[in-house]
């Protein structure tokens, strides 16, 4: 049963990474425009569209 002591923390840790990743995505505005994101994926010119123009 000692293996539980190892596996449960690993499982929790992995889940926690997912939670942090979601929080980061939310914080960086990835959920501000969900419908736009769904449509932008259809654009072909995304190579020119990456980020602000210099």
């Amino acid at each position: 049963m000692g293996v539980i002591g190892l596996l449960i923390p690993i499982a929790l840790f992995l889940g926690f990474i997912g939670l942090i990743a979601f929080y980061w995505a939310l914080k960086s505005g990835q959920f501000e425009d969900p419908e736009g994101a769904a449509r932008r994926i259809l654009l072909d010119d995304d190579l020119d569209d990456m980020g602000p123009k210099e």
């Binding site: 049963m1 736009g36 449509r39 123009k53």
Partner: protein, 729 residues
Amino acid sequence: MGGVSVESGDGAAAFVTKDGEGLSHIDLIVKGIHCPKCISDIEGSLHAKDGVRNARVNFSTSRLHVAWDASRIGSTDIVKTITDLGFGATPIDAAGERTPDQEEARRLLIALAVAGFATANIMLLSISVWAGFEMGEATRSLLHWISGLIALPAVAFSGRPFFFSAWRSLRASRVNMDVPISLAVILACVLSVFEARAGGVHTYFDAAVMLLFFLLIGRYLDLRMRVRARSAANDLMALQKMAAQVIAPDGRTSTVPAAAVHPGDLMLVAQGERVPVDGVVESGRTELDVSLLTGETVPAAAEQGTAVFAGAINLGAPIRVRAEKTRETSLLAEIARLMEIAEQGRARFVRLADKAASVYVPVVHTLAAATFMGWWLLGTGGWIPAATNAIAVLIITCPCALGLAVPVVQVVATGYLFRRGVLTKSSDGLERLAEVDAVVLDKTGTLTRGHPELITRDGVAEDDLALAATLARASRHPLSRALVRAAGDGPAAKDVTETPGFGLAWASPEGEVRLGSRAWCGIEEGAGGTGPELWLRHGDGRTVHFAFEDALRTDAAETVSTLRDMGLTVTLLSGDRPEAVRAAAKAAGIEDFTASCLPTDKIARLEALEKQGRKVLMVGDGLNDAPSLAAAHASISPSSAADISQTAADFVFQGKRLGAVVTALLAARGARRLVLQNFGIAALYNTIAVPLAVAGLVTPLIAAVAMSASSIVVSLNALRLNLMKPGVR
């Protein structure tokens, strides 16, 4: 036209903000974005401009944020770039702040994520407990404690939306749906802690977090619907925050918000700008698009002494207007106030979910109390098993399926309508639309297309039409555009001069060709017809008459008869002349019609219908319809409607077909049917689960299975709306 460019307005300037790096920023509401191409067109053209650093369209809110270097490009050019692409652009005062709704959406999302994380991890542990192969008591106890360690902080965090709402409602001595939810979640946690300490077999940590997880999904979907509805209302307020160019006595012009204009101020209204407040034209001669106010499609001429109203768009040369009212007392604001009053009546509407809650809450609490008393008085184990079973009743009846029943159906129905060109703007609009039994239609722009079309095409020689179109292509006048539409593609004449209020002139090799009003072409009164018209005068003096008419939508009559077949009465109320209304009513097959209606007349008519116990669907587009759109039980307007009307309406449909009204009605009725079915499913589930809980037979495993199964069944049932074929009842 040199005069225009010098005096060309910079109404956007009032909304520009500067950041620390010297960049200018502006937020605009962009009308007409509906596809990926629109996004790339707008962002691409702006990025191609020298000096623009960043342009980003937010598709969900129809907003555009632009950052640029003010030393290389002006805000006017930026707005012009967008309007040249054919989109409407209105600067707004966003200042980069988040709205309270967006904040709430973020909080709910984080709460949802935490609840999801906790549910997944506890489920992992719970399943091994339930399977229980050769598990010792110590191991089981350890797993219970770990579950508790995950669940308690997660419940404390993710449960806050429910706890706060329940507390607020209790303090107001009311009971809402969140009270039994909070009670169930908190009691489940307390009971589970006792169980874990006693080394018991069953804990309910998984049930508590899973309940929160499902309910938060419903909450989030519901909020998203409300945010969408409210952002449309904010757009209107932003529109009222128009900028005005005020000319000081020393001749200098400055851009100020329209709210800062005082009666007596002299304002400059450039081509393409809206009149900021009501006033009188001091100098200049132009044509105004007053469709926002009257719904009338033919532009109105304006010259010295003409009274003009806020919201009218200047189509021609710049004019100077002496302000007579403030923004608050302008007609536009009056109508907005009329709308607000009308909307208050609608606030009394009670949503289906709330009706269900008002029945559900007392029943559940009585059941739980009865279970406790029953076990305590009749049982042998004292108060602990009694409390356990009472809590089990609370958990098992907790409205998981009930919480999802309405939002899931609404999201599916909204998506269904969106794909068919109908935008749902109000969160309870579908419920109200499903109840209507009478339809009131407006004429101009609703029953008709809302823009003039050439009706004498067959009587006009092909050459004459082609020549007229070469001139007309140089003009943005609605009649010119209608002529160009009728003629199709072709060349545009060079060096056409436009005299606002009169027409176009072009020096052809054979002499001057003119296109415009009868006075412009030297026609005496009496010739031609009475409707909107254009005349063409050739270089040799020959004249040709073009008559226009605002034609009915092609499926108007069909839609009216379909609505009647569906059991609704159809009424036509219009502000137009009686003969025009009678003709339109006859063509569309409407027997009940009234002409020359003022906005107040329309509202009075709606109230009279309501007194008879009818639930009215208003379909209209003009600003004069806006108060009735807000007052009606439900309302729909075409996307060509005045902005203020689109804001007041529950639904906005795109395209030329009036049949969208039928589509929306069918979807709303379908959605109501599904919601009621979902309530039925939830009730059925409770009738099976509650006796088990009362009898003390519900284990955490049964609770978890019942909860997720009912939620999934309810969601799947909602998806059946997509199987509905359009046009089939």
